[in-house]
């Protein structure tokens, strides 16, 4: 025989060989002929069979030996065969298959979706050149990381840092400007960036150039760089716009370049303007308006750059103790810094969805155990008929594997959809919109999870079968099939389910409670029926402050006359809607003393009538008046808490306060009134010190309208627009929102996380209820005979039913008790997401217990009711 033939034959042995059934067929044929012959010899049917079997030896041994001959060679074929068998047997159990695939699919799908969310958010690469070298620089106060760095500090760091290949700054919050002369006047997002900003990130203009060095110095020319989308939108992608000027805030700015599509850092921008040293929000060291982004020099580790930054911080502290005494700069890898905010949220959701998977697996394991028992007789028969135990176990495993694959496919489909939902829900677009997609990582995680679930729920029943004794199983039949041990396993599965579900419910409950608390926070004003909008005057045309005051008070007057309008107030920054602007305030005797830094208050400029429009109570003194202008001495109102802090119980009216406005000397004003406290920035931060100045004396060019409306406000916005247009057609009315929406969206992030978590907890609860129901229902059906006997012997129906109920609720109680320590641990992880609710919030715990108890009682009562309706005669007949 030639070499090739030998190889061919070997291959045949490996791949082309009869499968298990064919061996079965052959051996069965042999056995039957043997029996037939014995019968012909005159043995009884029974004896004929016995002799044949004896002569044959154990069927399985024969097959094992046959198999041994080609153990490895058979393995693959067996697997295919197992799968084929499983495919044939599964459709006959449609309900079971559907239940498993749905349950597991939800578990796998949820997890894969969360992995997908992680994959496209945390692990994606940033859209910059060599993003791993980029660092984010944030200010620290006594080591605590704050956010923004002051302009002068930034310039010092940039000029002195040797370890950085580039250091740049940008305003991280919304900075807007009005562009006129291109169609209708438009408010655009116009962040300020330092010269060298785009070079640091490694973004090149597609037309034109970067900012030049002189454009970042005081007295430099007015220039802008356009964002791609804005360029397309307003200039139709005309390249000739570069070199021409656009009018921004009334001043011509020359367009020097256009950035490619997708160029973005922290905020969306329409145009970028250069920060000029000493002007443009960079006037003073106590004004913190910028975040720093830097690129580490080649081969420079982060630690080295950090120690250099520390050194510079110390020098600055020595040189400017007044402003820089406790300040520092913290450098964090950009990637890490950007993920800080979402990491805990994602971690929480990932943990939740993990628990959900465990609950789902427990459910499926419970289902399989029940089914395994139901199939025990079938397996025993097959075993006697010649199928080996190993073979049966393997086939079960194959069936479970197929189920898991089905669940995985369903899970992946579900995940693709869920991922989109979660991403749309969760605020993670600080780097631009995230695109939902099925990543290889997701598919990998699906595979891993599927394997894990097969291990969790699939192997145990297989081992059970492998260990079982067919003879006893056959003899015992169905009645005793549920062994004591099996029941225990099933019960503990339900306990685990209840415990994990409770943990999910407790965490959701805690978040729900804090959300309720947050919604219950009194903002200090009436948000209902309050329409807000923004009016920004072009600073160039409105250089004269009396002109500004004039147009704003005219607008206030005209708006108040509109139908449906009760009151109109004007302020430069509205509470909750517009953050920022908190500065130092002190009594004259405090200046220069320690602790002056500590007391910050939000400074606001208002026109008369603001407090009435907002329904903020005037507690004492008077409102600002139109007569409080530059011709008279400065006045201010302060909030009640600030008054208490400054003057304790003494009367604050008539006292003088100094406010840090960035000059050498504080701005001083006389307190003429005290108003109620408001929440200036966010509901989470709560009420804070506020002070209000007269617009006539301090006059920013951009103001917010607070319009108190009554009833239907449709058409009001158009009316406001036309009133403003008649005053000056070049001034747009922008940012029109209802205050209620502002408040709602300010806590929308929390609501999203909470909603996703509640959804997970809800699914877990449903699964647990189904698991509990399944356990008891099976229990009842299994014990129908026994219950029948008891009823026949005179046990009352209530007693029977309550016995079932007791068993179910006992397990639930055990699960709840187990859940308490677990929930306390879980609570630790969400502690920082809680608002005004403790981790041990008794209301939440009690609520969860009651809620889960109710659902569990419902799940238990159906089987209990069914048990009570068992007809003894029926039960006996069924035997």
């Amino acid at each position: 025989m030639g070499f090739a033939t030998r190889i061919w034959r070997k291959l045949c042995v490996w791949f082309v060989r009869e499968n298990e059934t064919e061996i079965d067929d052959e051996l069965r044929f042999h056995l039957e002929r043997e029996i037939e012959e014995n019968r012909r010899r005159g043995f009884s049917e029974r004896e004929a069979r016995r002799r044949a079997l004896m002569a044959f030896g154990r069927v399985e041994n024969v097959k094992d030996e046959v198999r041994d001959v080609r153990k490895i060679a058979r393995f693959l074929g067996d697997m295919v065969q197992d799968a084929k068998l499983a495919l044939r047997s599964l459709p006959k159990q449609r309900g079971f298959v559907l239940a498993v695939i749905l349950t597991l699919g939800i578990g796998i799908g949820g997890n894969v979706a969360m992995f997908g969310v992680l994959d496209v958010s945390l692990f994606r690469s940033l859209p910059y050149e060599q993003p791993d070298n980029l660092v984010l620089g944030r200010v620290t106060y006594e080591g605590q990381v704050g956010n923004t760095v002051s302009g002068p500090d930034f310039f010092d760091y940039r000029d002195q840092a040797q370890s950085m290949a580039g250091l740049a700054a940008i305003t991280p919050f919304s900075v807007q400007a009005t562009v006129t002369g291109v169609g209708t006047p438009e408010r655009v997002s116009a962040p300020l960036v330092s010269v060298g900003f785009f070079e640091t990130l490694g973004i090149q203009p597609i037309v034109g150039r970067h900012f030049a060095a002189d454009e970042g110095e005081p007295g430099g020319p007015d220039v802008v760089i356009l964002a791609h989308a804005y360029w397309q939108r307003s200039f139709g992608g005309d390249r000739d716009v570069v070199g021409n000027a656009i009018v921004m805030d009334g001043t011509p700015h020359v367009v020097v370049g256009i950035m490619p599509a997708g160029a973005r850092f922290l905020t969306d921008a329409d145009v970028w303007r250069p920060i000029r040293r000493g002007v443009d929000w960079a006037e003073a060291r106590q004004f913190h308006n910028f975040v720093i982004v830097g690129r580490l020099g080649p081969g420079v580790p982060l630690a080295a750059a950090q120690s250099e930054a520390d050194l510079i911080s110390h020098q600055l502290a020595d040189a400017f103790p007044e402003s820089n005494r406790d300040k520092g700069l913290r450098l964090t890898l950009l990637h890490e810094a950007l993920n800080e905010g979402v990491r805990s949220t994602l971690g929480l959701l990932l943990a939740a969805v993990g628990l959900l998977l465990v609950v789902a697996c427990a459910n499926v394991a419970g289902l399989l155990l029940v089914r395994g028992k139901a199939r025990q007789s079938e397996m025993a028969v097959r075993s006697v008929m010649g199928a080996g135990r190993g073979r049966l176990a393997r086939q079960l495993l194959a069936e479970n594997g197929l189920l898991a694959i089905g669940a995985a496919v369903f899970g992946i489909v579900l995940a693709a959809w869920l991922q989109r939902g979660i991403l749309a829900f969760l605020p993670m677009d600080s780097l631009g919109p995230i695109e939902a997609r099925l990543s290889p990582g997701m598919l990998g995680s699906a595979l891993m999870l599927t394997l894990l679930t097969v291990c969790l729920f699939g192997v145990a029943p297989a081992i059970r079968i492998a260990r079982s004794e067919p003879a006893t199983d056959l003899k015992s039949g169905m009645r005793i099939a549920g062994s004591r041990r099996g029941a225990r396993v099933q019960s503990s599965i339900v306990v685990v389910q209840v415990a994990f579900t409770s943990v999910l419910l407790v965490v959701s409950g805690l978040l729900l409670r804090s959300f309720g608390q947050l919604q219950g926070v009194d903002p200090g004003f009436e948000a209902e029926g309050l329409l807000t909008a923004e009016v920004a005057l072009p600073a160039g045309e409105y250089g004269d402050v009396t002109r500004r005051a004039q147009i704003f008070s005219q607008l206030q007057e005209r708006a108040a006359a509109l139908p449906g309008v009760v009151d109109v107030g004007l302020i430069n920054r509205l509470p909750i809607r517009d953050d920022g602007g908190n500065v130092r305030v002190a009594r004259p005797d405090e200046w220069g003393a320690d602790g002056v830094f500590e007391r910050l208050a939000y400074q606001r400029m208002v026109l008369p009538g603001y407090f009435e429009a907002m329904e903020i109570p005037l507690l004492s003194g008077r409102d600002v008046a139109l007569t409080d202008d530059r011709g008279t001495s400065p006045v201010m109102l302060i909030s009640a808490a600030l008054a208490r802090d400054l003057f304790a119980d003494a009367n604050p009216l008539g006292r003088t306060l100094g406010v840090d406005v960035g000059d050498e000397e504080p701005w001083t004003a006389e307190v003429v009134g005290v108003v109620g406290d408001v929440v200036p920035s966010s509901l989470v931060s709560g009420t804070d010190y506020s002070m209000y100045f007269s617009y006539g004396q301090r006059s920013p060019s951009s103001m917010r309208l607070a319009v108190r409306t009554r009833g239907e406000s449709a058409g009001l916005v158009a009316a406001l627009r036309s009133e403003l247009g008649s005053l000056d057609p070049n001034v747009p009315l922008t940012g029109v929102t209802m205050m209620q929406d502002v408040v709602t969206s300010s806590i929308a992030d929390r609501r999203s996380v909470m909603t996703v978590l509640i959804a997970f907890a809800g699914v877990a609860l449903l699964l647990s209820a189904v698991g509990l129901y399944g356990l008891l229902a099976y229990d009842v059906s299994k014990r129908a005979h026994e219950i029948g006997v008891r009823v026949a012997l005179g046990a009352s129906l209530t007693r029977v039913a309550s016995g079932i109920l007791r068993r179910g609720l006992g397990l639930v109680c055990l699960g709840l008790v187990l859940a308490i320590p677990l929930s306390l641990v879980a609570g630790r992880f969400v502690q920082e997401m809680l608002f005004a609710v403790g981790v041990t919030d008794p209301l939440t715990f009690a609520g969860v217990a009651v809620f889960l108890g109710t659902v569990a009682t419902l799940a238990c009562s159906l089987p209990a009711w069914r048990a009570a309706r068992i007809d003894p005669m029926e039960a006996f007949r069924a035997e």
Binding site: M1, F29, H30, E34, A55, F56, V66
Partner: protein, 107 residues
């Protein structure tokens, strides 16, 4: 019926010899051996099938699916050319072996 254990390796020889007359299915192979040895040698089916599979894998015999008289699907084994050669070798070595044993017993 006291069946003697077959000596190691002799089962292969018996199977080959049985199949020399023509293709047979497994049960017939065992019956034939039993018949020819007048029930002295009873082939334990537990060893027959493994032997059949092993020999087929070694290429001594070939198997194919056929139909029995009653119309059942049965597997039929037949000798290959290699099997025939092996039968000759085995037969010779068995003769030598049994002759040697006989010679000792005759003394």
């Amino acid at each position: 019926m006291a069946g003697s254990d077959l000596l190691q390796g002799s089962l292969d020889l018996l199977v080959l010899k049985t199949l020399q007359a023509g293709p047979l299915h497994g049960w017939a192979v065992s019956k034939r051996i039993q018949l020819l040895t007048r029930d002295v040698l009873e082939v334990n089916q537990g060893s027959l099938y493994p032997a059949l599979y092993r020999m087929r894998d070694r290429g001594l015999i070939a198997s194919k699916w056929g139909t029995s008289d009653e119309g059942r699907r049965i597997k039929i084994y037949q000798l290959t050319a290699k099997g025939r050669k092996a039968l000759e070798t085995e037969r010779r070595s068995w003769r030598r072996f049994s002759g040697a044993v006989e010679a000792i017993l005759a003394t």
